[in-house]
């Protein structure tokens, strides 16, 4: 066990964990930020997506020691006009079904709109392909991103 300092959602936390413990489990178990989900453990599904210095990253394979020194944002700490637009669009058209992947979907979508406010279909594909939705809510995810894009 070692101590690591993490910047999460604008606050500094010190955690005492194994250096190889993935950030996902540090967020969920040590910081009680349960909005970020475990889906595959091998960076294939995107359920564990958070922002690290604004970039969407898979946390299930990211050792905590590699996450120090960055600004980490989870679904609980999302803010800004892109986040508001995405969450409003998601609510407006009822994007989620089971909802389990949606934190990850939203983190990827917000990162996309922050970088590319008016994404094309190809931009959406490129940004969202890493996020699996087993309910296949993809039609509504695509629509939600487009609706949000119109409002920012």
């Amino acid at each position: 066990m070692s101590q690591f300092e993490l910047r999460v959602n604008g606050k500094t936390h010190t955690v005492d964990v194994d250096a190889d413990k993935p950030l996902l489990w540090v967020l969920r178990e040590d910081l009680k930020l349960i909005g970020t989900k475990f889906g595959c453990g091998v960076a294939q599904c995107g359920a564990c997506t958070v922002h690290i210095d604004g970039q969407p990253q898979r946390t299930c394979v990211l050792p905590v020691e590699a996450a120090t020194g960055f600004e980490i944002t989870t679904i609980e700490g999302l803010s800004g006009k892109e986040a508001e637009a995405i969450q409003a669009a998601w609510t407006e058209i009822d994007v989620p079904q089971c909802g389990y992947c949606q934190s990850g979907q939203i983190m990827s979508a917000v990162a996309l709109l922050t970088e590319t406010p008016k994404p094309t279909d190809a931009d959406i594909d490129a940004a969202m392909t890493g996020n699996i939705c087993r309910c296949a809510t993809y039609v509504k995810i695509r629509q939600g991103i487009k609706d949000a894009s119109q409002k920012i």
Partner: protein
């Protein structure tokens, strides 16, 4: 886009029709529903602590009470004790204390006027929270903003699924079995609120109106909220009968009310089983055998116990459990185990061997499920005969939330669990039996589940049982069992590998004169609590969608070979329809192509006037797609039509050759559904999109291959899932209907692969006879 046409005159039957819903695996006949219930009860009658027989005294009391409503009004006529017990459920989220009006098992009205509906069907994405609450809210004349939903506790008497005879979710039955029950629950609550207001205001009840959660007496100008009269209404006797609205009086049914669970699922605050934390809780991972059913020969846990955070290692019937302070320690501990497995008696074959054996068997007829006319004679005499074989792989459900369960024992010896309980009382009974407590001492908290697709509905309550077994082996701390994705893909239950062999004869005019379909697969229900569903040796879930082929063919035979394999089979979204829809609709298309007939018109011709709902959806889909109109260069369309779970779906797919050889790019799909009264068109549309996406993804990429008894695939890298760039545009048409509502969770899944395969054949001339399109497995 959605084209939604408002039903003209929805006919909601006055009597509850138990015959309507299908079982979790059924073709929707009352026989199946009844026999499932009987089968389950019979099976568990031999196991005294099983849920179905739990607390017979209370059950008898409630059944007696329920009979007042002709078997329907469960919860509306409860004796005082039962009402108090069911009222306890409202305490779950802290609004069930003094002042809460609990008129029946489903409605809780708090002093602040929030209305909480207890949902007897687990919410895992298909929309039960919203759909069932809509039915209550409409009859209650509530404002949608005051509605809340939470899962009902485990209780067969109060919350059974009328299609199964026990509490459970499956077979797309939630709305179908509960719609009238929910409406009556809402109407009864409203009548009592009105009576309370009438007494308080000194006016006749008949002069009080209710709209959007407000009670009004126009004559005196008095107005009030539900909350104001909750206390007074609670003292009243529930009405013995209630009058339901006529469809023209609906205010919420048929509209796109916002889903009740969207906000929490958009902010990361929705709580799934994985998110449950108890004081001192340990995380448990099991090392499971590479071969199904293998037992450990030797276990060396020396290194595992050295892992920081690992607390204990125990050998359980289903594997070696590592108990640790967190997930990562449990995983590292599990990785450090050295286990030798005893494979004696386990399945050692590979998919290729199973397929070869099934193919051989399918060459001759099996147990007869349907036999019209003289199939053999007609085929023998035929001038023109077409034959084809279709092979379907094992498939894993792979719900997004890996399987998990939380269990805790309180100071007084009672057990509390949290899980995605698809059969809550089965979980309760299994846990009680393992831990040697009474079922009523096991409190089941059904959690929002991150998908299921059938996986959480094992007849043996495998996930709950595993949690209980792990708890018993240590007996102290609360535990959370977590399956990794690899566990889920490699150690689960599967849509069984299936072979269909079809033969048909054509006359000189291109009419199909005989149709012979032979199916070789494992039975899903054989050897389970649902075995009594089998009739004449045939599992109805094997033949559903094939046995009831609707086309006018004078000689039709469908037969079955029950194959044995040591790979656990289970219902997988739409169950038998997942292979029967493909085999029948692709083979039919092949016959129509051989005779130069238009796939849409020929289907309509063969349906005649006997299947108006099938012709209705097919016509609607063809119209939406403008079937026959020109397409961009390099594209082709295909159609399919299939009834499942008493809903009717037609789909048309438009495809081109994609970037990957042999895998179509699906540009667009049109989907027409007739599911009776459309309770929430937006939810139906979502289920059509998601359901066809689920079918499409597995048809393109999904395969579980068995090699020497062991699953080859391990995670989403090898068990490939549909991704957003592979999802077509979807246009949904909801065909107006005046029939009672039927299922939408499954019916969009079966036709999708067939529509795509038929389009692909038109485009490329290639009939895909073994799925998936991306097949890597051997045959």
């Amino acid at each position: 886009m959605t084209t939604h046409l408002t039903p003209r005159n929805p006919k909601l039957t006055a009597e509850h029709d138990v015959a309507t819903p299908g079982g979790p695996a059924s073709a929707g006949s009352p026989t199946i529903a009844d026999s499932m219930a009987a089968a389950f009860a019979a099976k568990h009658a031999a196991a005294p602590s099983a849920a179905i027989l739990a607390n017979p005294n209370r059950r008898t009391v409630l059944q007696g009470a329920a009979s007042i409503g002709g078997g329907l009004l469960i919860g509306l006529q409860l004796p005082g004790k039962a009402r108090a017990e069911s009222g306890a459920a409202a305490v779950i989220k802290g609004n069930g204390t003094a002042g809460t009006f609990a008129p029946n098992a489903f409605v809780r009205i708090a002093p602040d006027s929030t209305v909480t509906v207890l949902i007897k069907h687990i919410e895992f994405g298909q929309g039960t929270y919203t759909g069932l609450s809509t039915l209550v809210a409409d009859e209650l004349d509530a404002d949608w903003a005051q509605m809340r939903a939470e899962h009902a506790p485990a209780n067969d008497a109060l919350y059974k699924n009328f299609a199964f005879g026990l509490q459970g979710t499956g077979g797309s039955t939630a709305i179908a079995n509960a719609h009238e029950q929910m409406r009556k629950a809402g109407a009864a609550a409203k009548a009592m609120l009105v009576e309370a207001a009438a007494t308080a205001w000194g006016v006749p009840a008949g002069e009080i109106t209710v709209s959007k959660g407000q009670l009004k007496h126009p004559g005196s100008g008095k107005v009030g909220t539900f909350g104001e009269f909750a206390d007074a209404a609670a003292a009243l006797t529930p009405p013995s009968d209630v009058k339901l609205k006529t469809p023209d009086q609906f205010t919420l049914i048929g509209t796109d009310v916002p889903k009740l669970d969207t906000k929490s699922k958009t902010t990361g605050t929705a709580t799934f089983t994985l998110d449950v934390v108890r004081d001192g809780m340990l995380t448990v991972l099991l090392a499971r055998p590479p071969r199904f059913g293998a037992k450990p020969k030797s276990v060396d846990d020396t290194e595992a116990l050295k892992v920081n955070g690992v607390v204990d290692v125990k050998t359980l019937p289903r594997g070696i459990a590592v108990y640790a302070k967190d997930f990562w320690a449990a995983k590292k501990g599990r990785d450090a185990l050295v286990i030798e497995w005893a494979n004696e008696g386990t399945e050692a074959r590979s998919s290729a061997q199973l397929i070869a054996e099934y193919r051989e068997k399918a060459k001759s007829p099996g147990l007869i499920a349907r036999n019209d006319g003289d199939v053999a004679g007609t085929l023998d005499k035929a001038d023109r005969k077409v034959e084809a074989e279709y092979v379907f792989p094992f498939l894993a459900h792979a719900p997004m939330e890996p399987l998990d369960y939380v269990i805790e024992k309180s100071q007084d010896g009672k057990i509390e669990v949290w899980g995605g309980a698809q059969f809550p009382t089965a979980d309760q009974g299994a846990i009680a039996q393992i831990l040697g407590v009474r079922p009523e001492d096991v409190t089941v908290n059904t959690m929002l589940a991150g998908g299921s697709f059938g996986r959480r509905a094992t007849p043996v309550a495998d996930i709950a049982s595993e949690a209980a077994t792990a708890f018993k082996a240590r007996g102290t701390e609360p535990l959370k069992i977590v399956w990794t994705r690899e566990d889920d893909i490699q150690n689960g239950y599967y849509r069984p590998l299936t072979v269909h062999r079809l033969a048909a004869s054509l006359d000189g005019d291109g009419n199909i004169t005989a149709w012979d379909e032979t199916i070789a697969t494992q039975s899903i229900v054989k050897g389970t609590a649902f075995e009594m569903m089998m009739k004449d040796g045939i599992d109805p879930t094997t033949v559903e969608g094939a046995k009831d082929l609707p086309y006018n063919i004078p000689n039709t035979r469908v037969s079955v070979h029950n194959m044995e394999a040591g790979i656990p089979p289970l219902w997988w979204r739409a169950v038998g329809h997942t292979h029967t829809a493909y085999a029948t609709e692709v083979f039919l298309d092949e016959l129509l192509e051989a005779t130069g007939k238009d796939p849409v018109q020929a289907r309509l011709d063969m349906l005649g006037d006997k299947h108006p709902r099938l012709t209705g959806v097919l016509t609607a889909a063809a119209k939406a797609a403008d079937w026959g109109s020109p397409m961009p260069e390099g594209r082709a369309r295909g159609v399919s039509l299939h009834k499942s779970f008493n809903s009717y779906v037609a789909q048309i797919a438009e495809v081109s050759e994609g970037d990957e050889a042999g895998i179509p790019k699906v540009h667009k799909m049109w989907c027409a559904i007739d599911c009776g009264l459309a309770v929430n068109p937006n939810v139906i549309k979502a289920q059509m999109e998601g359901g066809l996406g689920y079918g499409l993804g597995h048809a393109l990429y999904g395969e579980i291959n068995i090699d020497n008894g062991t699953v080859t695939e391990a995670n989403f890298d090898s068990y490939r899932s549909l991704r957003i760039n592979e999802m077509p545009d979807v246009e949904v048409v909801i065909v107006p209907s005046d029939e009672a509502p039927t299922g939408v969770g499954e019916p969009a899944t079966p036709p999708a692969p067939a529509a795509v395969a038929n389009a692909w054949a038109t485009l490329t001339g290639k009939r895909v006879r073994q799925l998936p399109f991306s097949r890597t497995g051997d045959a």
